[in-house]
């Protein structure tokens, strides 16, 4: 469903992503791992049309750069950016309704009430404005907002960022149920959670792909070297 071929992303003189190629088959959950600055976020931003890239990124056969973020979203590519980014002055319900903008004609597995079933913690704060929520609640809201739009490809950028381990566990448990059958590209620095959820993983280091494969091959030592061995 999503195919990257020889993709490079530059910010001015800085090369964030260098000649990256891999595929995410339909219905699979692929984890994109790597430490800070490895290029993971740049990759997601290229896929969702926010930054220009060289090479080819196709979603369902169409080159992503031809569509732009608004049309991609309406076509079902939902990007949940790093840092939660819920709209602070909108309430929880309003944030979720915003997600409906991208729904188009698709049928969603999770409408707004459905989101409250997936993330019960949000149910008690429907009319609360976004800035009042805790980090974990905001993350759940951001994910829920993407889910109401029946994503065909979900781009999740570091959902566990800045969250306490207990909250991360809750979020991932919910994700495990809800994401079955959805095509997902999941960026994480925290490997264990990602590994439990994904079908395969791609490890980025300094903008390059350093390894690809089933999560079982990524032992702790291997990852420690990839992240910390420089």
């Amino acid at each position: 469903m999503l195919k990257l071929s020889n993709v490079s992303v530059n910010y001015g003189v800085v090369r964030a992503l260098n000649d990256v190629s891999f595929e995410v088959p339909e219905g699979h959950i692929t984890a994109l791992l790597g430490s800070n600055g490895a290029g993971k976020t740049s990759l997601l931003r290229a896929v969702s049309g926010l930054v220009p890239y060289s090479g080819s990124i196709t979603f369902g056969g169409t080159e992503v750069s031809k569509l732009g973020p608004e049309r991609l979203a309406r076509a079902g590519v939902l990007h949940v950016p790093e840092g939660r980014r819920i709209v602070a002055d909108l309430t929880v319900v309003e944030n979720l309704k915003l997600g409906l903008t991208a729904l188009g004609g698709r049928v969603s597995k999770a409408d707004i009430d459905g989101v409250f079933e997936i993330f019960p913690a949000l149910a008690g704060m429907k009319e609360r404005e976004g800035w009042m929520l805790s980090g974990g609640e905001q993350q759940m809201l951001a994910i829920g907002r993407a889910l109401v739009a029946a994503p065909r490809l979900l781009l999740l950028d570091e959902p566990s960022l800045g969250l306490a381990p207990v909250i991360i566990k809750a979020v991932y448990e919910a994700l495990a149920t809800v994401l079955k059958g959805t095509t997902v590209l999941l960026v994480e620095q925290s490997t264990a959670n990602a590994q439990s959820l994904c079908n395969e993983a791609v490890v980025l280091a300094q903008g390059n792909v350093s390894a690809k494969g089933a999560p079982s091959i990524f032992t702790r030592d291997f990852l420690a070297k990839a992240y910390l061995g420089g």
């Binding site: 969702s48 926010l50 973020p69 608004e70 049309r71 979203a73 309406r74 939902l78 990007h79 950016p81 980014r85 819920i86 709209v87 602070a88 002055d89 909108l90 309003e94 309704k97 915003l98 997600g99 409906l100 903008t101 991208a102 188009g104 907002r145 993407a146 739009a149």
Partner: protein, 292 residues
């Protein structure tokens, strides 16, 4: 007593006009974070267009008013393309200067087209009034107040209850996230600017047809609109309404009794003191989210 009531109604209708002007720049503000300084000239322009349609084209007032509003909407679309559309990603100051350029152009066009002399815009309620407690109350002023109340309610509803309004608010806060959820930013911006000029048209028609008007009709109303938005809370609908009321009462009611010759300065001095002391309006607006 009659004096008080007359000036009270005068103040209320003036406040209504200011509120409409405030709304007119708040709508595109929400969509694009741009403040337009051309609103005053759009207001003036609409009065001139209305007068032209009635006197030169011989249209009936209701059709002329409608025609004016449609033309103004179109002007708003063109305005968006010239300013926001041409200046994506540029610093805010530059876009504001572009709106100043458009203001100049409109003003120049009006003075070339119709001259700077006072004009008359026909109104079905011109000169009609009723008396109450010794005061002569013009129907038109009540209409202005009424229209503004209706517009306020409609805008409030649109912003708070419709998908369109939701998208606009999201766009104002976090344009990137809005785009990522499929919000069509360009289309919204165009519609927002169209609505803005439509509201200017409404203001121009209502106020211009009260008595006579000239090319300076819109400037004072626009300035009042800015002040109202600042006092009420930048970007807040309820705030613009309250702000307009406060300022109009200061200028037209209080100013009817004291400092009469300098009453136009009163709201300005009030604004000055307000900004010096507070950085936030009465209601929570964009400035309290640190987005100003």
């Amino acid at each position: 007593m009659g004096f008080f009531i007359e000036n009270l109604i005068n103040a209320l209708s003036y406040g209504a006009a200011i509120t409409l002007a405030a709304f007119s720049f708040m709508v595109p503000l929400k969509a694009t974070n741009i403040v337009s300084f051309a609103q005053g000239d759009f207001i003036s322009l609409s009065a001139f267009i209305g007068a032209w349609l009635i006197t030169d084209k011989g249209w009936n007032w209701s059709i002329a008013y409608g025609g004016t509003l449609i033309i103004m909407f179109g002007a708003g679309v063109v305005f968006e393309r010239l300013t926001h559309g041409s200046l994506r990603g540029r610093p805010v100051d530059e876009v504001i200067i572009a709106t100043l350029g458009v203001a100049f152009i409109i003003r120049g066009f009006i003075s070339r087209w119709r001259g700077a002399n006072p004009q008359s815009l026909e109104s079905p309620l011109r000169g009609k009034f009723f008396t109450f407690a010794g005061a002569a109350i013009p129907y038109q002023r009540l209409v202005i107040i009424g229209v503004t109340i209706v517009v306020t309610l409609v805008l409030y509803y649109v912003f708070q209850r419709t998908a369109f309004g939701l998208q606009l608010r999201a766009l104002a806060t976090d344009p990137e996230v809005a785009r990522l959820h499929g919000v069509r930013t360009t289309r919204l911006a165009i519609i927002a600017f169209g609505i803005s000029s439509f509201l200017c048209g409404l203001t121009g028609i209502l106020v211009g047809s009260l008595t006579s008007f000239d090319i300076g009709l819109g400037f004072a109303i626009m300035l009042g609109g800015f002040c109202a938005a600042i006092i009420g809370g930048w970007g807040s609908i309820a705030g613009a309404f309250v702000g307009g009321l406060v300022l109009a009462l200061i200028e037209r009611l209080f100013g009817a009794y004291y400092f009469t010759h300098f009453r136009e300065m009163l709201p300005l001095v009030f604004l000055f003191l307000f900004i010096a002391v507070r950085q936030r309006g009465i209601f929570r607006g964009a400035e309290s989210y640190g987005r100003l």
